[in-house]
């Protein structure tokens, strides 16, 4: 187990300081639509931070700001004290984002999907790359899929391949966008275990965006809840047992009222 403030490389076992993130007064507008409104929080080095919220609350947009795929309208995001959108940050910090869809390259085999990053960045010769790829596939229990194409894989396997591809990047920061969406409960639990064990094993700073309450409560060190673009809750999972904000309480324990006018409309 690596020391608390250090991330261990899964391939070389070398330890490097874990990466922290600061989101400072972040706002994002798309035209007249205000998606994020003055969001501020920190992600501590080596922790698992789960960002929750209902659909359309701005979770994925916030994640894209952290990896530099979106630029803030105002405010800033710092990754290891560098501006998230700058080229220097991409050079300096290895960030891996596991997309909701997996975003695997459909024209490449599973092996080539995993080998793309080390080949492009020439981190090893072909034998070294093969070793890394096969090791990552083994960690995710994906031996035997190397020659398959993404179209041949189930939803759960695609997610695991996406995580394996992220792992090959030897990341200091892992980000997951809805990792358990569209998965059955068993596969969701497996993915949750994988996320937790990767952090446990390598102490990678991890941000998970999800609206899966069970996933959040089982793996998070801290949780943030976005509602309508604002951070409505920031704290420990234990604090969510009795949330003070009624909107947060409604989100975590939704009640279905069949007498609500909208259900009456459906009947007619």
């Amino acid at each position: 187990m690596p020391s608390a403030q250090h991330t261990r490389n899964p391939f070389t076992q070398v330890e490097t300081p874990a990466v922290g993130i600061s989101v400072e007064h972040l706002s994002k507008n798309f035209g007249s639509l205000k998606v994020l409104r003055d969001v501020t929080f920190d992600v501590h080095p080596g922790e698992i931070f789960v960002l929750m919220g209902p659909s359309g609350s701005g979770k994925s947009v916030l994640l894209k700001h952290i990896v530099g795929l979106e630029l803030p309208t105002s405010g800033r995001v710092l990754v290891d004290e560098h501006d998230a959108a700058s080229e220097e940050t991409r050079e300096h910090v290895r960030m891996a984002l596991v997309f909701q869809s997996g975003a695997l390259f459909n024209s490449l085999s599973v092996y080539d999907n995993l080998a793309l990053y080390p080949r492009e960045h020439r981190v090893a010769d072909e034998a070294g790359i093969r070793e890394k790829v096969m090791h990552a596939l083994k960690i995710l229990s994906l031996e035997g899929t190397a020659r398959k194409f993404p179209s041949d894989l189930s939803g759960g396997m695609k997610k695991r391949v996406a995580i394996a591809r992220a792992l090959v990047m030897e990341p200091q920061l892992m980000l997951y966008d809805e990792p358990t969406s569209e998965l059955d409960p068993v596969m969701s639990a497996t993915i949750s275990e994988i996320i937790a064990s990767l952090r446990e094993e390598y102490h990678v700073t991890t941000i998970v965006v999800s609206h899966d309450r069970d996933l959040a409560l089982s793996i998070a060190d801290r949780i943030g809840i976005l509602m309508d673009g604002r951070l409505a809750f920031l704290g420990l999972p234990s604090e969510l047992q009795a949330p003070t904000d009624p909107k947060v309480a409604d989100f975590l324990n939704p009640k279905i009222d069949l007498k609500h006018p909208r259900f009456k409309q459906l009947e007619t």
């Binding site: 894209k64 990896v67 530099g68 795929l69 991409r90 050079e91 960030m95 891996a96 984002l97 997309f99 869809s101 975003a103 695997l104 390259f105 459909n106 793309l116 990053y117 492009e120 960045h121 990047m169």
Partner: protein, 250 residues
């Protein structure tokens, strides 16, 4: 006003993409597998249709010219007309139009689908610039293959004209006479001008199609819209550029 803004934005983003792609030119040697694959797609797979169309364009040119020139008894100059028209204008323009329709649309569809399904975002997060991996090999392949395609188009078109000239009763010119006139009036410079045009058109078509593909936003429906926009924009640019490049080269 909004259309003008869109045009200027499109021009600006295309120029930015070009600058980014060119800045990675040094990486081309280690991307030779991608470069060769694109040469195959742009060159080899387009060749049959270029040959067929060029053959019939040369044939139709000879046929139409034959009917007109018969009135003046000048059919013996058909070789020069077909030779110059194919070399300076129809060869490069037809190859560029084919490139836009066949290869350009495929490039836009592929890149737009990569963008919509977040594969391009995945590349960015991996610190692999899309301009380097997706655009540069295609631009380089267009530069290499377009003159080759245009030259083959010229030769096949001339050959089509020769066949029609021999076997059409009102023209009835032997291939020797046809090619003798063609050689006398079609100079090396004319052929080179045509190849330069093809080079410029091909480069612009591939660049525009890449840019439109990479700037696709939304869902699968937008992929189709991007392909249409890329092909229409390419066709307009080919014809507009044709005028200015012809002016420049004349």
């Amino acid at each position: 006003m909004r259309h003008l803004t869109n045009i200027l934005e499109g021009f600006g983003s295309t120029l930015q993409l070009l600058i980014r792609a060119v800045s990675y030119a040094g990486t081309l040697p280690r991307q030779r597998a991608r470069f060769i694959e694109q040469c195959y797609l742009i060159g080899y797979t387009t060749l049959p249709i270029v040959a067929i169309l060029s053959f019939f364009i040369g044939s139709v040119l000879a046929l139409q010219a034959g009917y007109s020139m018969e009135n003046f008894g000048t059919q013996q100059f058909i070789g020069s007309l077909v030779g110059l028209s194919m070399a300076r204008e129809l060869g490069p323009v037809m190859v560029a139009i084919l490139l836009a329709g066949r290869v350009g649309s495929a490039i836009t569809a592929e890149l737009a689908s990569m963008k919509v399904y977040q594969e391009v975002d995945a590349l960015v997060t991996m610190n692999i610039p899309p301009a380097r991996m997706l655009v540069l090999p295609r631009l380089a392949a267009a530069l290499v293959m377009m003159p080759v395609l245009a030259l083959i188009g010229d030769l096949v078109g001339w050959f089509g004209g020769a066949l029609v000239s021999k076997y059409t009763a009102i023209i009835a010119i032997e291939p020797e006479a046809y090619f003798s006139v063609l050689r006398r009036y079609t100079h090396f410079k004319d052929v080179m001008n045509g190849l330069a045009k093809a080079e410029i058109f091909g480069f612009v078509v591939v660049l525009v199609c890449c840019n439109i593909g990479l700037n696709t936003r939304g869902g699968p429906r937008e992929i189709g819209a991007s392909v249409t926009r890329a092909v229409v924009t390419s066709l307009i640019l080919i014809l507009v550029l044709d005028y200015f490049v012809t002016q420049l080269l004349t």
